[in-house]
Amino acid sequence: MINLQITYDNEMDRETVKIITKEENTLIADLSKFLTEYKHDCLPLYKGTKLFVTPIKDIYLIRTDKNKLCAFTKGEEFSLNYRLYEIEELLLSFGFVKVNSGEIVNINKVTNFDLGEVGTIIINLDNSMVCRASRRRIKSIKKYLGV
């Protein structure tokens, strides 16, 4: 656990984060990378142990896979250290909608909706990925699209 201390100083002209550590380690490396590249519209994604601070608009799909959360960009797959409900709330204002119990889709990256295998609604994404919308989620997708 990191001991977090926040100091408020009226004299500061720019926010500064100071890290005090005994030694360099991956946590500190990730933290410093995340903080230096941080923007409100980015997410910390991982490939193995390597951190990628990725613009949210570049994420197509977030999917749970064996209790792990994966994010898919145009051609790459990353893992995330969030829970699905946390990421759902976080990405709501960025055009992401939960389309079934395990997938959140960036509606801005949807090519079209299609009638798939009898009785299912298929969502085709711009990166050729396909996912399925459950009936109970259609309402929230429609609400986002304003139809």
Binding site: Y85, N100, S101, I107, N108, V110, N112, F113, D114, L115, E117, V118, G119, T120, I121, R132, S134, R135, I138, I141, K142, L145, G146, V147
Partner: protein
Amino acid sequence: MEKKKSNFWGNLLYGFTTGVTIGVFVSLFVNVMLKTDYYSPATPKLVESLGSNLSTLVNFLLYGVIGIVSVFSTSIFNIESLSLLTKTILHFLVVQLGVFLVSLVLGWVESYFIFVLPISIVIYITIWLVIFLQQKKDIKSLNDGLKEKKQK
């Protein structure tokens, strides 16, 4: 977070009362159609073996069981990994198995095959078609909405 708490006892009561209510009306309808002198939900054979009161009680209890099976089997439609067609077929099989077993106990297997099964098939196909057409409509409005959003 989104998981709804399932109301087991509520569903049980709802299934039972609905099953009994529908069963009573269907048996009343059958009595009217057969122009019987008095109302009896049970077949004459069952009345003969169990007596009037007990056979009526058994009938009502088993109508309730059909209702319970019908209500609980709707949870099949919550399985997101299955297609609508698979879920409908699975639901149909579960409910029909329940009704068939009840018809065996109550002694109206013949009527089950002549009336209940064909009517059930027609009802299921109709419901399935309605849902299917609704989905086609949903897809059209979703694509229209998407197109409009992308043009903005």
